[in-house]
């Protein structure tokens, strides 16, 4: 019940009539965002690696970001303010998830509050005023007199997407010029483009150095956090039912501060005892995040409402749902402002329950149950919201709030997660056109058609990013306006063939390594941005229905699949400088010796027989030569044989632990290492290249298994885990096994940057499924290996062929 009051001063008038906004509190937003990010593509896929962002550094994009307003850019710094609410250790406060959470916290910045007053463009901005959205009336927070505080209040979706209130749903691709919110979807896209390309939408170079581009990555992620905050507030029904809850005196006009929000904050942040509903020291249970599966959408505004207006009563947006499904403190049953939930008490089931209040066990609480999930919608009360005694009125208490939170919190997380996934939905690639020598095609793995400009970028030796001439939006070539159809039947859409000249001025730091960047129309979005770092060369020697095939599962330009001669045993793939070496059984489909050591040009399909081995099983190539395991003539010793890769002539050999004999074993040598590692007879042996034994480690699980090494570590398979050793044979770590669906590890390959693990996922004939997982090899700024406990698992999202054996993988050690 509100009272009117006459006052004599302007200041007091504005104090009394203005209502204020309040979404979930900051700790709640941080935690909802944290869970959403953990479930999203940011954490569950190779997205960050595909974008060229380290997943292992704790400060991959630095500690500053950009605030963009038109052509002006101001650098801003992270603040300790966010750290008060983000539940991460301080050393993780610059990770990508932390950046997104920082945005979610700072979206509630308001002039005059305790947040840093560091907005360089808006001296007075009350961001929370723009966190409301009534989907029935398609309107922002609407309270008499609020125009005195802000004459241009936006709806939450308009504020998030960067449009005006009128354009949000009718013209969603029309950005609001001079908008005051600089962390909208449009801003996130522009920042992402600058981070990938170093250029702005006009093509001007704005961020060529890596640190400058990282600032724009930080801006991208911070902006995403701002946007998901605005979705999460839609899971607070007071924000979708125009229910002010300031808590500013006098509250019979401005509304009580939101008990729901404080209660949820306490549950979210783990407060153990809370005073609520007149009860002291109520033990709280933690907030339940649930596993709700949110709908997917094809435009950003749908996340808020799919049909604002009368259609909102059946809409799938989060504001649609919370508006029609819940009562609020100020718009409770009988208020009549909204048709849903029903204002007729007879439409609910009456429940009278005692034993809910520990200190008053006989006291009955009378609930009204209803809604699709049959929750406690409201409670009969002797007192209304403002504690005035009126007949037949209703109020909300923590039992109602618990039921609300159980439905709303999982949705807040799920919608946030889906919004992040939608932002990063684009997936592109570039590969050599098998039908046209010297040409390439863009591949679109997404479900939407793409049309716009594609550019290839590369970094020089000082880390400056350049556009490959002849590509990009201003190239006056096919690259400037290219259409790529969507994926269909598990096959990516392919563009028409494209050509480009490999850049020479300045020369690239890593030849063949590029960043492919798209900007243009993707589905309904007119200004989408997609990027992908190319040039990670991984090759797989696989069986495929009787034919052994060398395939490339990388994005390296010039990679393609080459069928090789059928063999039963084809193993020990090792790749260096664009050439693949492996050992292959000569006798067809029988298991017999001898083997042939072969080399294969991965770019030119040249096949050369190098040498005949008695029983070669492992092959390792490095800058100085090629080593293969073999048996001696009497099959009593495992030999390590050393070949010249150019001539195939043997230049030396030595015995690996005379007296032991168990097949040919596996071998590896790092590109620049002085060491060789070999496994056979359930042992790991480490030698110098001249054959001097350094170490023996035993206990390799099951039989002899694959071994791989980089500059300073040796990795061996141990069942469903991978063990690491240093070059002295001292065991370092058991790298955690991967996801629960790993059945068996078939092959591994290490470079100085990554460890690839091929696992057997499904053992059901005839459809053997394998997956390749990649995890970062941790190194510090000086290139030294750091603690392997922090290695993360990420899956490369493809499966290998139907026949899983033989199988071997190799990464090009020259890159």
């Amino acid at each position: 019940m509100k009272h009117s009051i006459h006052v004599t001063t302007f200041t007091l008038f504005s104090n009394l009539v203005l209502s204020t906004a309040n979404g979930y509190e900051l700790g709640t937003h941080a935690r909802l965002t944290q869970v959403a990010v953990e479930k999203s593509v940011v954490s569950q896929s190779t997205l960050l690696a595909d974008l060229g962002i380290s997943q292992t550094r704790l400060d991959p994009v630095g500690n500053t970001y950009n605030d963009m307003s038109g052509s002006l850019v101001r650098v801003r710094q992270v603040s300790s303010f966010e750290a008060r609410y983000i539940p991460l250790p301080d050393e993780e406060m610059l990770t990508v998830p932390a950046w997104i959470m920082r945005g979610a916290v700072r979206e509630d910045d308001s002039t005059g509050e305790d947040n840093p007053q560091d907005d360089p463009f808006n001296s007075k901005l009350y961001r929370p005023l723009n966190h409301f959205f009534d989907p029935i009336n398609n309107r922002p927070l609407t309270v008499p007199g609020i125009g005195f505080l802000d004459a241009d209040i936006h709806t939450a979706p308009a504020w998030a997407t960067g449009t005006t209130n009128d354009n949000t749903f009718s013209r969603p691709n029309t950005a609001e010029s001079d908008r005051r919110n600089h962390f909208t979807v449009f801003d996130a896209r522009e920042a992402m483009y600058r981070a990938l390309s170093g250029r702005n939408s006009e093509g001007e170079v704005v961020a060529s150095s890596e640190s400058d581009r990282n600032q724009y990555w930080a801006t991208t992620f911070r902006s995403l956090g701002n946007v998901v905050h605005l979705i999460q507030d839609m899971a607070q029904p007071q924000h979708t039912r125009n229910d002010q809850h300031a808590g500013k005196f006098p509250e019979f006009l401005t509304g009580h501060s939101s008990v729901y929000e404080k209660y949820i904050e306490a549950r979210a942040t783990g407060v153990e005892l809370f005073d609520i509903d007149g009860q002291q020291g109520v033990a709280l249970e933690r907030l339940r995040y649930g596993e709700y599966e949110a709908p997917t959408f094809d435009k950003f505004s749908d996340f808020w409402s799919t049909s604002p207006g009368v259609g909102a009563s059946s809409g799938r947006g989060l504001a649609d749902y919370s508006n029609r499904s819940f009562f609020t403190a100020g718009q409770n049953l009988g208020s009549g402002r909204y048709a849903l939930p029903s204002n007729n008490a007879d439409d609910y089931t009456h429940e009278s329950t005692e034993d809910l209040l520990p200190r008053s066990p006989r006291k009955r609480i009378n609930f009204l149950r209803g809604g699709p999930e049959g929750i406690r919608m409201t409670t009969e009360s002797l007192f209304d919201y403002f504690l005035f005694n009126t007949p037949r009125t209703y109020s909300l208490n923590r039992f109602n709030y618990n039921d609300q939170a159980d439905l709303l919190v999982p949705r807040a997380i799920a919608y946030s997660k889906n919004l992040i996934d939608y932002f990063f939905r684009g997936k592109i690639d570039l590969e050599a056109d098998p039908n046209s020598s010297g040409a390439y095609v863009v591949k679109n793995y997404g479900m939407e058609s793409m049309r716009g400009a594609f550019g290839l970028y590369y970094d020089d030796s000082s880390g400056q990013r350049h556009l490959v001439p002849g590509t990009g939006p201003d190239s006056n070539s096919d690259w400037a306006d290219l259409a790529v159809p969507p994926a269909a039947n598990s096959n990516p859409g392919r563009s028409a063939p494209l050509t480009f000249q490999e850049p020479t001025n300045p020369p690239p730091a890593a030849p063949g390594k590029y960043v492919l960047v798209f900007r243009g129309q993707m589905g309904e979005e007119a200004d989408a941005v997609v990027g992908r770092v190319l040039g990670d060369a991984l090759y797989v020697l696989e069986g495929d229905g009787g034919v052994t095939r060398l395939s490339s599962y990388s994005n390296k330009v010039n990679s393609f699949s080459i069928p090789v001669r059928y063999r039963y045993l084809t193993t020990g793939l090792s790749v260096y400088g664009g050439r693949a070496f492996y050992s292959v059984n000569q006798s067809g489909d029988t298991y017999s010796i001898p083997n042939t050591l072969q080399q294969y040009g991965v770019s030119d399909a040249t096949l050369t027989d190098l040498a005949v081995l008695e029983y070669g099983n492992g092959t390792a190539v490095y800058s100085g030569g090629l080593i293969s395991t073999d048996l001696n003539e009497t099959a009593t010793e495992v030999m390590l044989r050393h070949f010249d890769v150019t001539t195939g002539n043997e230049i030396g050999s030595f015995s690996s632990n005379p007296g032991l004999n168990n097949f040919g074993g596996y071998v590896d040598v790092a590109a620049n290492s002085t060491h060789i590692a070999t496994t056979h007879n359930e042992h790991l042996f480490i030698y110098t290249k001249s054959g001097a034994q350094i170490a023996v480690a035993d206990g390799i699980n099951i039989a002899t298994q694959d071994v791989t090494m980089n500059s300073d570590r040796v990795y061996v398979i141990d069942g469903v885990a991978v063990r690491s050793y240093d070059l002295n044979g001292i065991r370092q770590a058991n790298l955690s096994p991967g996801p629960a669906d790993w059945f068996y590890i078939e092959a591994i390959e290490a470079t100085d940057k990554r460890l690839y693990v091929v696992t057997l996922k499904s053992f059901s004939a005839p459809d053997y499924k394998l997956h390749v997982y990649a995890r970062e090899v941790e190194r510090d700024a000086e290139g030294r290996l750091v603690d392997e406990r922090y290695v993360y698992q990420k899956a490369i999202d493809f499966s290998l062929g139907a026949r899983w054996y033989p199988l071997s993988i190799g990464a090009d050690r020259a890159l």
């Binding site: 204020t20 050393e91 308001s110 500013k248």
Partner: protein, 218 residues
């Protein structure tokens, strides 16, 4: 601060002439003295040496927004009777938002090695019980405990009073050497001390550097 005081006094004089019951924005923040006890669950024996963290929480509502803010934090140590005491305090308003604080509650967190909060027996009387669970679980508990203090980790709230808690957390976790997570937890608590003593930027930089997982944004 002097300007704030003048504004505070001028405003108060103006409103005295208007007889409307409006809660006046204050010129200083205050907290009343309070005491309590920390006992062991079950035996009700006093626990000496427990660190009690009191956070004064208030609702800050401007015309546009309102939420809960921690505006003052202090720590106290229980004596041989398990008693702790927080004297009354008063501090001048140093930031504009503090004028709009409306007191909500004092949150109490209690730390004692190898123990956890059990319940509030009555007003001001808390019980702790021995922590049940292995070293990993204890580290998780201590990390969550530290995160719960973060809301009061600000200059304006008096964050330096949290340093004894951080040191105590660090000392306990250093003794938990049988699990891998102990080192990262120790780093986390050291980082908290650095952030308070050296400022956020420098504290954060050192925290990341200690892990060895820093780099120039690579």
């Amino acid at each position: 601060m002097k300007l704030d005081r003048k504004l505070c006094m001028g405003f108060m004089r103006a409103l005295l002439t208007i007889s409307i019951g409006i809660s006046l924005p204050g010129c200083s923040l205050t907290g009343e003295a309070f005491s309590g006890y920390v006992l062991e669950q079950g035996t009700e024996s006093p626990i000496e040496g427990a660190i009690v963290v009191a956070g004064w929480k208030g609702h800050v509502a401007t015309w546009a927004h309102g939420r809960t803010v921690c505006y003052h934090v202090e720590t106290a140590v229980t004596d041989s009777n398990g008693r702790f005491h927080f004297p009354a305090w008063r501090k001048d308003i140093s930031e504009k938002w503090q004028k709009n604080v409306r007191f909500e509650r004092v949150s109490v967190d209690i730390y004692f090695p190898a123990y956890e909060l059990s319940s509030r027996l009555s007003e001001g009387v808390y019980s702790l019980e021995p922590f049940v669970g292995g070293q990993k679980k204890r580290i998780e508990y201590l990390k969550e405990f530290e995160i719960s203090l973060r809301g009061c980790r600000s200059r304006s709230a008096g964050e330096s009073s949290l340093i004894p808690v951080y040191r105590a957390l660090y000392n306990e976790v250093k003794g938990l050497d049988k699990v891998d997570e102990a080192e990262s937890a120790a780093n986390a608590f050291l980082a908290g001390i650095d952030v308070i003593e050296l400022g956020y930027d420098e504290g954060l930089r050192r925290a990341v550097e200690r892990t060895g997982r820093n780099g120039e944004g690579r």
